[in-house]
Symmetry: C2
DNA sequence: GTGCGTACTGACCTACAGGTCAGTACGGGC
DNA sequence: GCCCGTACTGACCTGTAGGTCAGTACGCAC
């Protein structure tokens, strides 16, 4: 995804570099309500593979967004939670989530209507 | 990028589907201040290829985020601007941009320090 | 000693976003 | 007749994010 990009051109660039993985925002969303075990997270994100889930959790941990707590038991137990830093990121994402929720219907409608591409002649404005 | 994903799991998912291209947020950012010609945009986004820039502009146009105005002159002139819908998306992105700008130094520092991966033993908490 | 549940790890593969580069249409200037 | 600048288009290639799947360590229960 991102990771080790050169100096960012703007703040959004930097944020996307941190949260740009396929499942990362969903992970943040899931951890927002409460601490979760690895297996819980996997069940929470239908379609994610174990490999990628761990991978993205590790990256988020490296970025100090999530905290990983290992309990040396058998069978093993690992709990993931948001750090304060992660919580602040989640807050910053909230307006975007609200926008998406608010306009989801419109987006879906546009997507469904796609293919009705107007001819170039019609797209052009006469001067 | 996104395009025609199934029903979204949450609002952020939907928003990312719209704005998830490599250059799309930068395009929004550039158009936020003022209308731009195609060539201006290309110069504004160092590293973008013409093909991809056009592609992403077309997708944003299809999503009613940007407006494309063609002036039938020679040489051709095409101006891109934000729609009201696009402006609202830009507003929703602002907190994320602020977060990134605010914590950019930290992110860069973390990235630079990466490789100092603590041993598993040290990462584990004794109970 | 066989099988269980958990949280991983690693080799392998694939799809596709995005990059490269050459080509097109248009009229104006020389 | 030829080249210029602009805004594209399309064939081709590549890097890599992410998916599949098989394997591991660990103690406990039976």
């Amino acid at each position: 995804m991102g990771m080790t990009k050169g100096p960012y051109t703007c703040g959004i660039d930097a944020a996307i570099d941190v949260v740009g993985g396929k499942w990362k925002v969903l992970i943040l969303w899931a951890l927002h309500e409460r601490t979760r075990r690895f297996g819980e997270l996997r069940r929470e994100l239908p379609g994610v593979s174990e490999k990628v889930l761990i991978q993205q959790l590790r990256e988020l941990e490296a970025d100090e967004i999530v905290h990983r707590e290992v309990y040396r038991e058998v069978p093993p137990r690992v709990e993931y939670s948001l750090t304060d830093f992660g919580a602040s990121l989640n807050d910053a994402l909230r307006p975007l989530g609200a926008w998406g929720r608010e306009h989801m219907a419109r987006i879906v409608r546009i997507r469904a209507t796609a293919g009705d591409v107007p001819e170039e002649a019609e797209r052009v404005s006469r001067r």
